[in-house]
Amino acid sequence: MAISEAVGQRAFVQAPRRGAFTRLIEDERWLAVVLLLPTVVLLGMFIAYPFVQGVLLAITDTKVGIPGRFVGVQNFIALWDDSIFRIAVWNTFVYTAVATVFKLGLGLWLALLLNRNFRGKAFTRAFILLPFIIPTVLSTFAWKWMFDPTFSVINWTLFQLGLIHGRINWLGDPDLALISVIIVNVWRGVPFFAISLLAGLQTINPELQEAAAIDGARAWQRFWHVTWPLLLPVTMVVVLFSVIQTFADFQLVYVLTGGGPANATQLFATYAYQIGVGTGLLSEGAAISLAMFPFLLFVVVVQLLYIRRVEVH
């Protein structure tokens, strides 16, 4: 190490024609500054600055075209009393919790199925990822069409199977709308869970399974005592990622129901859009968006602590 550096220095001295900048970035710290500068500028300008701006907006009463006055936490107090906001909060938590549970359960099941050797495995794996890579808004339109009460293929199928007798209004019925939206979210998220968990499964040494089988463990016991504990780190990260994405979801609901009927599928993001962009109440919209922040921060902190703990072990 010392020798190589000494030699490097000598080579450096022998090449005097290098410019001042080249010499500057020979220093590790200056090189780091140069390399990180574009990233820091872009992220600062379009993440940190908007965040500060959002907080400033949320504590004034700005509307589109009308500069605001300072009002303190009044926007947040108003939100607390806003019954639609409360519905949106409740819906968001239900949406996130239910969708995540199903995505994890079904994703894990699919990952276990794909972890076997069968003909056409690579092909199947490539195809099941489609819901995740095709633009969400576009595939959601296919679902919206499938949910259409008059032309629904789902209704037709259920009717032919003798499961229903009348028509089901999937998106128009307030009791069903949130379930329908969750179904689409799960559909979109399962491939991501399955592929990530499959990657986790493939790092588990099959000899562990064999050893447990020789010791007489049944399939279920092998999963629960061998596979699951080893898969837990990947699972945790995937779940936390998905929770953040689901919690802040917008496009699915925007296309399927727009938050309706009667706010039955209103989420934080759709309500913020409706108030901030639709109605032009910028401050209140910004406050609704920012109200997501404490929960998101909590999830991020959990994630960082978890990753650090895994790294230590």
């Binding site: 090189l31 992220l43 908007p50 293929v153 993001a269 913020a272």
Partner: protein, 283 residues
């Protein structure tokens, strides 16, 4: 893996897997079938006796032709393509350098800067879209592609950086040291030794970034207002639904054609794509 009778293989393996594949792919089949279905068959209620959901008796290209000739669809496709490519290039440029610096150089605050970038990776677009719309307007970028080209890197750079850090970390230090012994500057060692080795990672990050920007919706919805500037997702959503009338044939044709570029790239780079997904959650 499955012991015992043949029926067990069916119950525990083929039937569940088949059901999963059917469920995950059916909406795409539905898109395809609908986009070539004439209105006469399209608007036939499911209770009608001659409702044929899974097949189209008289397929037609009229929806696709209408979409291409009577709407701005091709314009939206080109807009999206330009925006996705430009923001991917910017993000790769920033991500490669940042990933290299954070994984291979020693400097003060390296750890906290890495954590900071990781946190921005987790910031959802819906948290900041309202103040950001204001900022974009103040920078005179509103209703131009640059509004998206400059803001998409906020979620693409952290992703690229994070993914590439993994690739850079795996390259042995000795390689770089050898080059430096032979007289290469740090810059040259990075450009000619380390970055070329990380090309598979760069490809993964690029493909992933491209699909992410093709998919983005809320920024495009809020920052762009005129019909000629829109991206595919926003154009289809706002221009093919007039008032309360949904032009389902055109909508499905738009959804199908709008997905093709992503699906096309994906089909060539499945393995890189999968590596991108698994790399992104490795932590």
């Amino acid at each position: 893996m499955i012991e015992g009778a043949k029926w067990r293989r069916w119950v525990y393996f083929y039937i569940p897997l088949g059901a999963f594949v059917f469920w995950l792919l059916f909406p795409f089949y539905w898109m395809l079938v609908t986009s070539v279905r004439p209105d006469r068959e399209l608007y036939r209620p499911w209770m009608a006796p001659n409702y044929t959901p899974f097949w189209t008796a008289h397929p037609t290209l009229v929806h696709i032709i209408d979409l291409l000739t009577e709407t701005l669809f091709t314009r939206w496709m080109l807009n999206t393509l330009f925006i996705a490519i430009a923001s991917t290039v910017i993000s790769l440029f920033c991500g490669i350098f940042a990933g290299y610096a954070l994984s291979r150089l020693k400097f003060p605050f390296a750890g906290s800067l890495g954590t900071g970038i990781f946190i921005t990776y987790l910031v959802p677009q819906t948290l900041l879209f309202i103040p950001l719309a204001d900022i974009v307007r103040n920078f005179q970028l509103g209703d131009t592609p640059w509004a998206l080209i400059l803001t998409y890197p906020t979620f693409l750079i952290p992703f690229c950086t994070w993914l590439l850090m993994g690739y850079f970390k795996a390259i042995p230090r000795e390689l770089e040291e050898c080059a430096r012994i032979d007289g290469a500057t740090r810059w040259k060692a990075m450009m000619y030794i380390i970055i070329p080795i990380a090309v598979p990672g760069i490809l993964s990050a690029g493909i992933f970034a491209f699909t992410l920007s093709w998919n983005e919706f809320i920024y495009a919805l809020v920052f762009l207002s005129s019909a000629e500037q829109k991206t595919v997702s926003v154009g289809v959503t706002s221009e093919l639904v007039r008032g309360d009338v949904f032009y389902w044939g055109q909508l499905m044709a738009g959804a199908l054609l709008g997905s093709i570029p992503v699906a096309f790239i994906y089909s060539f780079f499945v393995e890189h794509y999968v590596a991108g997904i698994t790399g992104s959650v490795k932590g």
